[in-house]
Symmetry: C2
Amino acid sequence: MARTGRPREFDKDQALERALLLFWSRGFGATSVQDLVEALALERGSLYGAFGDKRSFYLAAVRLYWETYERQLVTALEAGPVLPALREVLANPARAQEYASDVGVPQGCMIGNATAELVPQDAEAREIVARAHARFIQIVATGLRRAQADGEVSRDATPEAQAQLLLFTVQGLSLVSRAGLDTASALAAVDALIDALRA
Amino acid sequence: MARTGRPREFDKDQALERALLLFWSRGFGATSVQDLVEALALERGSLYGAFGDKRSFYLAAVRLYWETYERQLVTALEAGPVLPALREVLANPARAQEYASDVGVPQGCMIGNATAELVPQDAEAREIVARAHARFIQIVATGLRRAQADGEVSRDATPEAQAQLLLFTVQGLSLVSRAGLDTASALAAVDALIDALRA
DNA sequence: CGACTTTTTGACCGCATGCACAAAAGGCCG
DNA sequence: CGGCCTTTTGTGCATGCGGTCAAAAAGTCG
């Protein structure tokens, strides 16, 4: 099908990545189509043709964000001791401004941002977010189960409960960090949690 | 000053409370001035006259939300054992839909919602949110300090670090709950944290 | 009663938004 | 080379938004 036509002149993946940065730093509502058009250096019509409407575009960016995050999470947890890796997962958002970009400084977890802004009134967004949450818990719980077996992590709670707690903490940390955060205090809190998980 | 004029026909405090529910459930961007006009049953001009523009109105609602929350928090922590009170503070957002209202179901912590939606680009909002965070930590740390002295709470971490961790958890829990939450799992996670704080 | 102040009312405005469309252009395949 | 399919380009449009304003109304006080 599709005898092929005029080839796309821009790189769709790259455009999505740039849009991701914009949406990440400003949020859905505060990013106008005009902003996107200027940041991606393409015409209004091309954007709609390639990605559908603004909402679909945003959701695609959120999906890409999660895919990337999930890949990193799996990699970080699959080998070696689990607690240091988890400490890193939590410490990351505590150290602000590392993903600085020219279009502004993305802050917080984009899944969390999407949760706050779109989830209440958008079923599709809710599904994406809920799936991300479930996957996070699943991945982390798998790591914790192994760590419990290795005697690295306390068995006072189930791996699922511990993973759920870690999800809350990551999301809360990312969110709170948007309002400014004393890095040292945040890291102290992270350490308190990691220590509490230790066997 | 002010020889008095035509008296206001609506209850300003009550209007602010209703607006709080609307803003809480829909967020800032998704609540139009028209929505407010209809929900509060007053005319556009009256609204602007009484509260200034939409943003000021929203910030006033956020301030009211925090005042109410802070009062409850202080009350809950000032007497009796601290851990059960903290457990309740965390369990509250885990049990969804308790603040149901006719205008929709407010979800999550409004401070958290404001953080995600406005803080990146609004200095005044950032200040309100940051102050709320600081107050939360201060209040909770005070309770924890007493509880550590009483031997109720572990001294493995400073009360400040523990309070900071609790802030992250509450915020994360409130946020995640917007996407739907299995109450039992959430409570298990809360219990895991509370147990970890126990001496 | 009448001057004065404030609120109410409802129409109104400019603007930015998301989106549609028609014409032109570009590359593939027969 | 010529038909075909798709993307590009840029204009155009309706809608809904936040916000303003002037006149009418409702109290207060001298």
